[in-house]
Amino acid sequence: EKADSQKRTNISAEYTEFDGKTNTKTLKGKVELTRGTLLIRAENGVETETPDGGGAVTLSGHAGSQVFFRQKRDGGEDLWIEGLADRVEYDKKTEVVRFISKAQVRYLSQQKVTQEQNGEFLSYDSVNDVFTATNSTSGKRVPGGGRVTITSEPKGKKSDAKPDNK
């Protein structure tokens, strides 16, 4: 959701180390980042900050736990996007979220999954609502390197489905 980008970012963790020289924060233990409707949960996190407010947040799970991501989507009532992956990279400037390895992203509308993607690399640009998916963790398409599956739920009958005013 665009309004998120003007909200405060709140991060909580069990342990944090600030490195003043490289302007990096290393977070460990039940890391949770919230910013407006954006919510990310992980076990480890590294946040870098550039003077102009940019920088990146890299989150990873631990011993099998994955990173969880959820954010409200613009363009309609109760539209949400949820994601899971071994690693999540969030670029604070471009607000692009990248889900890397065993990634799964679901689009929800009124609590019902309308679309679900699985793949090795899924990226979601929350400002422009652009979504890309490829089959290798590098984000490049590797021919024959596994498939990306996208399943879209059929829209309900005209009567109960609210037209998407995209």
């Binding site: 970012t9 600030f18 003043g20 407010g53 940019g54």
Partner: protein, 204 residues
């Protein structure tokens, strides 16, 4: 025969007496060392105090290591410790920006060896409304820290607390329980229950 028995019992009784005696002496020594530790807590009588002072500690390289000013400085001979009322400490390292630390009270312990492998160094125990401020510099942004008590190690430029701490930088407010800082390496570790709140990036 009975004489023998008496002599034997006499020996045993004597032995018992010696044993009891040594136990009694041990008991007295133990209680005495405990008393010494006890009165160390409320400390011996001060032998001098200084009012409105400026205490400058020079480092080996003869530059100012740190400066302490305060309303009153009281010296305790037995422990060779200073207690300072309303201390204001400015840690100066030639290249870095000064860091100012205030508190209600501070106790300066000189040349304490915390662990065997560390060399002995000064420790400054700050208590009550401790406030650390570092002005903006090319090394780092403005930083303010508030806590209830803090231990400074000026020689190795380290700070440590086990208490709750609130940190403020121009863009973030941070709270945690327990903190360790190495000023020369610009490292701050927050040890538990960390909450960070960052202002939105400057308007796009």
């Amino acid at each position: 025969m009975t004489a023998d028995r008496i002599r034997v019992w006499l020996g045993v009784a004597l032995l018992g007496l010696v044993m009891l005696g040594s136990f009694w002496i041990y008991e007295v020594m133990r209680r005495q060392s405990e008393d010494e530790a006890a009165n160390a807590k409320n400390r011996s009588e001060p032998d001098y105090y200084v009012e409105h002072f400026n205490f400058v500690r020079l480092s080996q390289s003869k530059q100012t290591n740190y400066r302490v000013t305060g309303e009153k400085l009281i010296h305790f001979p037995l422990e060779d410790e200073f207690e300072i009322i309303q201390p204001r400490i400015v840690g100066i390292d030639q290249e870095k920006t000064p860091m100012t630390i205030r508190a209600d009270r501070a106790i300066v312990k000189q040349k304490v060896q915390e662990k065997l492998q560390n060399k002995p160094e000064d420790q400054i125990h700050m208590h009550g409304n401790v406030l650390v401020e570092r002005s903006k510099s090319d090394q780092g942004s403005y930083l303010k820290m508030a806590t209830d008590s803090l231990i400074l190690f000026p020689d190795s430029e380290r700070m440590r607390t086990a208490e709750a701490i609130t940190m403020t930088t121009p863009r973030a407010n941070i709270t945690a329980i327990g903190m360790e800082a190495e000023n020369n390496r610009q490292k701050i570790r927050l040890l538990s229950k960390v909450q960070i709140s960052i202002a939105p990036p400057s308007a796009k």
